[in-house]
Assembly symmetry: C2
Homo-oligomer: 342 residues x 2
Amino acid sequence: GIAPAVHAQAAVRWRLASSFPKSLDTIYGGAEVFAKAVRAMSGGKFEISVHAGGELMPPFGVVDGVQNGSVEMCHTVPYYFYGKNPAFALGSAIPFGLNSRQMNAWMMHGNGRKLMNEFYAKYNMLSFAGGNTGCQMGGWYRKEIKSPADFKGMKMRLGGGLIGDVMTKLGAVPQSIPGGEIYQSLEKGTLDAAEWVGPYDDQKLGFNKVAPFYYYPGWWEGGPEVDFFINQKAFDGLSAENKAIVEAAAAVASSDMLAKYDALNPTALKQLVASKTKVLPFSQAVLDASFKASMEVFAENDAKSPEWKKIYADLRTFQRDQVLWFRFAESAFDSFMSKQKL
Amino acid sequence: GIAPAVHAQAAVRWRLASSFPKSLDTIYGGAEVFAKAVRAMSGGKFEISVHAGGELMPPFGVVDGVQNGSVEMCHTVPYYFYGKNPAFALGSAIPFGLNSRQMNAWMMHGNGRKLMNEFYAKYNMLSFAGGNTGCQMGGWYRKEIKSPADFKGMKMRLGGGLIGDVMTKLGAVPQSIPGGEIYQSLEKGTLDAAEWVGPYDDQKLGFNKVAPFYYYPGWWEGGPEVDFFINQKAFDGLSAENKAIVEAAAAVASSDMLAKYDALNPTALKQLVASKTKVLPFSQAVLDASFKASMEVFAENDAKSPEWKKIYADLRTFQRDQVLWFRFAESAFDSFMSKQKL
């Protein structure tokens, strides 16, 4: 039988620190979708308060916060923590890595989640997927990028550490600038380019007015996973029911975010094009040079971090098979559809 | 406060009728993943027993079973019920329809789920996504399909009613044959072709030995959604907590199935190729003729079913934007990756 008194007192209250501002409603909103699902499933007996980036701790301080237990969990992009160990990037996105579906496959039915959680254990935490943006756009540029040489000396705002290393190899000068200051820097020309997310998020910041060249694809984020990191001791303290509830709520939030981005991006893209954005593909030469630079950085990481080396090898083996398979049914279908009048 | 005695007695027991045999472990397994998540989240207070196709009722009788309340829910492919009303297909897959990500976007953040549930209400039921296979393969053929004329008179085993109508327009003769008899019929030549799912499921049936030409893409199933249908009265009888648990467990099962197919298909495809399967793309002429035939069938359905007409119009509008958006970042990324040595 169930001991009712224990149950009645068993209200669990957690705090979740997000790395995102509320203005990024799609990605920030993932944590709210998660918390709402937990609340509904537990009948209000498990409450998680969601705190925007900066509210409890700096946006990039959330892993420290989870590690030392000052919050039970956070919602963030693992590659933000590349500086702690390059292996963090593998839990989210590496240049020319997995697309969103392939990432889910590796995480759920390959070795991805297992290997990442072994690594995250060093930080007293475990992970659940907490969203994906789909393949991002390649950023906003004041001038056209016609060849890899155009990256040389280019001051570019970039999100993560790994793409910073690759862009440095290409000759660019990565800049770390808060979201709110990018527009002015592009306008003044103290910044030549900036990458953000995709049409829906980018449109709000109005970059097209000051840097009209909008390139694709965002080859450094083919399917970036956003994560929930949970303090291991806090998770261990949950009942079996609440553990299952957390896991399922993460699945809800994760699939919801990608669907929301996919639903919102097309309209934003059309509006951007209508307001004089020049949407252009990176040239083959630019992609080839970027691929080469990325592989050089990966080799350097192999030498620097045994955790990167082990997990990267597994991801790459899995990716070879995924790319092979996606060449057939999936690509042929999408490619035919892209040419139809619907 | 919580009334503990009520809680202790509040065990809910449901039966789920699957349309699938246990041998299709990936698609049948989706219902087991769902039931397991419900059990874990409810601490065993909500138990759903999963019954393979034929165990409680015929595989295609499951919608009747849910409608009349003889089971609380089922796990099936909506297009199986095309004969009841063509609109069922829109909840799963139509030829040249949405891919799996686009389907999720339409269902979760477009009008998809809302419109489909309005329609399903006529059958006393509501739906949750319960899986996706990703784009399927285009089937096994005893002879090469070089032009649309090769479909003429071809006896082909097909899964659903809508593709049957389209294939009939192309001159083929759709056959309804149980899974277990396909191999022998292909061997004897009483069947010229058969479509099933994709490499992982197909490989088990050994079709490559008797029909070695394996075509792609399965243009009639670009991203077929598998569904949980739930009797409305049974759902209404659940507590708010259990309703939320059912919804989240469906999200778990849904994303798990696609990831599992993606993880398993590549190895199966490689083994099929190694055992003399000839993997070939449908020609442009074949795809063009199939697209034209599909549009004709859709127009006929517009005239036949007001429910089809309303929902199809919404899906198509949504699809136009999706196809536009996927042409940019997503396709460019996948296309570049497909040519790299990894």
